[in-house]
């Protein structure tokens, strides 16, 4: 795949070039599917939602100026729609709350599906996380795996917001060192 930036891909999408949709899917399909699967815990539903997200990008391409950071945008959109589907699927079972609480104590063990497909690259990040302090790892996972805001994390860990911020920043700095070589290899 050509090394287009996200903004270039979105511009190609605006001119309805199907290959741009394919390239965007190659770049972000696994993230969208992963977030959908994490929330919905159902492969068929995660596939449907992934399809819905990419088709909505195709039909209504987002503005590259406003959404230059496409990764963050897609994760937010997928998580939000997935939670919506959970709500309509079974409000009585209170799955949303259950899902929210999954991350209160320990990060969940990966499901067999997730385990089977965890790539080597993803293993590097998981491995790097184990080298952080317990608290640094916890706040990074709560923020970027479970999708909680920093104030939600502070609430959940019953720690001051400033402390959570500090752990997150220190954790990120350490991860930068740990992942430096693999990122320099050409992660765009």
């Amino acid at each position: 795949m050509p090394t287009f930036t996200d903004a270039e891909l979105l511009n190609h999408l605006k001119t309805k070039q199907p290959e741009a949709l394919g390239w965007l899917y190659d770049r972000y399909g696994s993230v969208v599917y992963g977030v959908a699967l994490k929330v919905l815990q159902s492969q068929p539903e995660a596939e449907d939602l992934t399809q819905e997200i990419f088709l909505s990008l195709w039909q209504r391409p987002v503005d590259p100026v406003k959404h230059g950071h496409l990764l963050r945008y897609l994760i937010a959109m997928t998580r939000s729609r997935a939670i919506d589907k959970l709500r309509s699927r079974s409000r009585n079972l209170n799955l949303v709350q259950r899902w929210g609480q999954t991350f209160t104590a320990e990060p969940p063990a990966p499901t067999p599906v997730e385990q089977a497909v965890a790539s080597e690259r993803s293993q590097q990040v998981r491995q790097a996380l184990t080298q952080l302090s317990e608290r640094q790892r916890q706040v990074i996972e709560l923020a970027y795996d479970a999708g909680l805001s920093q104030s939600e994390i502070a609430q959940q860990l019953q720690e001051p917001l400033g402390t959570v911020k500090s752990w997150t920043r220190q954790g990120l700095l350490k991860l930068k060192q740990l992942l430096k070589d693999s990122i320099d290899e050409g992660y765009d």
Binding site: L21, G29, S30, Q51, K66, L71, R121, Q155, K165, Q170
Partner: protein, 244 residues
């Protein structure tokens, strides 16, 4: 800030800048540092690449192989496109509301947060869209001077909330925004007032939640930032809505 910052302090600021959790003063300090020291930009880029990599890999699960071709096939198959609902009301010119938003917009400029500048741009964009709704929020208690505005466009799936004079919540409490759609109370997110009691937050408003439209909004004080149903006291409530 008169004393030069230690390299460690600068690195910490850079990390906070990428995470997006610096307070306005720290942002000013850091942006000045970025101007004075262009090589710091490379550090920021590297931190951003690290965070993207972590976010990507923590969420990435390889989808089944058939999904890609299914999506491309659906995208390129001609079909009837869904028509957006026409606005229920004819277009109106609401000069007062727009003036209020412009004041908020100018107020926003004082924050100097890059996220907030983005939000200011979002407000600007929302104002230019048809079917944008504006809600005024007022404090429930008469002694409370908190007021706010919420501008939302469900076509754009975005809402921006601006609140003034909101007192800081107790340490174990948070403000939460809720939207009422079809009689249901839908959580929109958490509000964190700054030290001046101001809130400026952008909310993702997925159209699926609100296909019947938003009839009202309110802010409650909750014990948990992840509460999915309002249980605490209502602090602010929408008093009027206007279709722009």
């Amino acid at each position: 800030m008169t004393e030069p910052l230690s390299p460690q302090a600068i690195a910490t600021l850079a990390a906070g800048y990428v995470v997006g959790d610096l307070d306005p003063t720290e942002v000013s300090v850091f942006e000045q540092l970025l101007q004075d020291n262009p090589t710091l930009g490379a550090e920021v880029a590297q931190l951003q690449a690290t965070l993207d990599r972590v976010t990507h890999d923590l969420n990435s699960v390889e989808p089944p192989a058939h999904l890609r071709s299914a999506i491309l096939a659906t995208a390129t198959t001609p079909r009837l496109t869904a028509q957006f609902q026409r606005p229920r009301f004819p277009w109106r010119t609401v000069m007062g509301s727009i003036a209020a938003l412009l004041i908020l917009y100018l107020g926003v400029e004082n924050y100097h947060l890059r996220q907030d500048r983005q939000i200011a741009q979002d407000i600007h964009t929302l104002l230019q869209q048809p079917q944008t709704q504006l809600f005024s929020l007022k404090a429930v208690k008469t002694a409370d001077t908190a007021t706010g505005s919420f501008v939302v466009n469900l076509g754009q799936r975005q809402g921006v909330l601006v609140v003034q004079n909101l007192t800081a919540p107790a340490t174990n409490q948070v403000y939460r925004l809720w939207a009422i759609a079809d009689g249901e109370k839908i959580p929109c997110g958490t509000l964190i007032p700054n030290s001046q009691g101001e809130v400026l937050e952008k909310f993702w408003m997925p159209a699926d939640f609100y296909d019947t439209g938003i009839s009202g909004l309110f802010v409650t004080l909750e014990a948990s930032a992840s509460s999915r149903y309002p249980t605490g006291p209502v602090v602010l409530q929408s008093s009027s809505s206007t279709q722009i």
